[in-house]
Symmetry: C2
Subunit: 361 residues, 2 copies
Amino acid sequence: MGITRIHIKRNSDTFELRRCQIFTEILNLYIQTATPVGSRTIARRLRNSLSPATIRNIMADLEEMGYIEHPYTSAGRVPTDQGYRYYVNVLMQESHLTKDEEETIRTVYERHWTELEEIIGRASRLLSEVSNQAALVLFSGVSRDIFKRIALILLDSSSNRLLVVFVSASGLIRNYKVELPEPIEDIQLERLNRLLNQELEGLPLSQIEYHLKRRMMMEQGSLYYNLFKQALAMIKATILTSKEERLWLEGTSRVLEQPEFREVARTRELLHLLEEKEPLLELLRQDLEQDQRCRIYIGSEMENKAMKWYSLVTCSYKIGNRVIGTVGILGPTRMEYSRLVALVDRMAGLLGKVISQMGEL
Amino acid sequence: MGITRIHIKRNSDTFELRRCQIFTEILNLYIQTATPVGSRTIARRLRNSLSPATIRNIMADLEEMGYIEHPYTSAGRVPTDQGYRYYVNVLMQESHLTKDEEETIRTVYERHWTELEEIIGRASRLLSEVSNQAALVLFSGVSRDIFKRIALILLDSSSNRLLVVFVSASGLIRNYKVELPEPIEDIQLERLNRLLNQELEGLPLSQIEYHLKRRMMMEQGSLYYNLFKQALAMIKATILTSKEERLWLEGTSRVLEQPEFREVARTRELLHLLEEKEPLLELLRQDLEQDQRCRIYIGSEMENKAMKWYSLVTCSYKIGNRVIGTVGILGPTRMEYSRLVALVDRMAGLLGKVISQMGEL
DNA sequence: TTTAGCACTCATTTTGCCAGAGTGCTAAAT
DNA sequence: ATTTAGCACTCTGGCAAAATGAGTGCTAAA
């Protein structure tokens, strides 16, 4: 109710403004120094336009609002997760990459890339380097991809071991080996090959099964029926079973160099967190669904208790308008949100483009 | 010279024996407890068959020989790298895996594996889990592999973008996209395809270039000449340029849980060491050359200064008798060499087998 | 409404101290 | 000739008391 009182008695606008200013100051200082910031420091930063005592009053307000807190009775203030959230949602101003950062990032473009893996690996290293935090890149391409081409290749003369090569619209190539229950004739194989390519071109992978089943129904009795049946079996054994999802993680040690990791316990904790990839995947996967610019998860906002001390800034990347993965930066909640958002956003954009180009080739 | 004196005057055999016994005791105790071991402790372990004072004398000998050392004036003894080396080369007895370990390891066999990556990932996780150290797996397959089959697939109607699928004798499949300088006719492509498969079957990759060049010379003037030329260009653009080498690293946090990492500095150091993959690769690559059972690198024996505190136990794995990679365990020099050698050896064997089987399918 | 002053709190650092583990040496015992 | 007991000495690690100092909350004055 301290707040309401204030609202009634004062020009709440300028008041609000000043509070924000001081809050931002605390936040920035804390992000820089990693030590709780006290009233005196703030006063100095504001060129003594206000005395420490006044600042203290305001700080008390901010604390009441839940934006900052004391680690202990007489330490400086530290932003709470709620505080960071407020900053991120309301106060934060869009920031731009420096020339340098931009240039560094752009080196993902240096193309002699042939392997998707290499590109993504590079991207994650760059991201970690520029952010000076840990970088995550999720690639989840194939699952939401579109069929482009398939090739069936006999592996050897015995004729029932088959190599299935599958190319998606994003330009990704995957292979599968299948063992047929019985040998297949060359002509039959050729037919199957042509059939699949005709039928499935442009189809999202998610619809392939349905489509083939429907066609099977239609062709019931005709001599194509068996062909479709074989096709379906094969596709099921290959493309549809592969969950193509891979996570890159780079620069853990950068996070561990942050001052909050002076105690070893924290270090272990983080290491465990990152070794268990599932929880991270969980988070990153969420972004595949929603198509926003960037997402920010702050400490205790995340389900995983172990994430309490960390924040995650993520952004998904796409080919055309099809999301194929997520890039993210993980660090202590005390991170430069504004800069990292810009960075992650940019990287997602570039990565999408580079992968698109590779697909085109 | 204490040593020579002893040699002259005593029954050196029983003397040597006792020294070894005590040294082994020190080593084992230190491996277990990670604290310097003193004369009293040893005496107790030997059921007081010798007094601490005697032990101290022997310890002094061992120290003079360079097998153990003091961290400071009045602490217990700790094995030196030279000491570990002596143990490993001379004293160590072959150890066997427990039923439990064996069973755990064997789960790499659980086959629903289709992807090489998955198998190796699994293997490295198992290795780390059972050893309770960090596990490394290098896969360097293709470079020393043998040609089995190639398939050229037109990617689309424009006819100058080609997908090259390459299958090696180990059963590894790799794809490359190439853009031809000019479109190629279907018939020509078909011919090229057949030609390559005929010519190169069974050839080690390292010889492909030479072989094709020689054939080109032979066919000079004939209408095959151009075909070979195209073939060579394509192979060069694809198989020969790919350096297929990948490193898995698992369980870093396990090493960090060792008591030697109470100081944070060590932790960072190790983390950096592991993030820089090149030095590790260097070491693991060496094993590809020599075909020994197991290799052990102890601390300062390794060039890399940062490795001073760590040991590495490695063993290469093969398809048939062709080495295709290396598995290894990394931990503090204070590690259970005997157990880990058994473990690494076993895992290398299993991994080779599993990958071979996969190739056969 | 802001500021100065003061008493108080609590984390951190410093210091000193002690116990414990272990050594090396010497002299006695076997 | 070896082994052992005894003793003086060294160094670590832990603990507690004391000093430090940054920062607060509250009150009263500006």
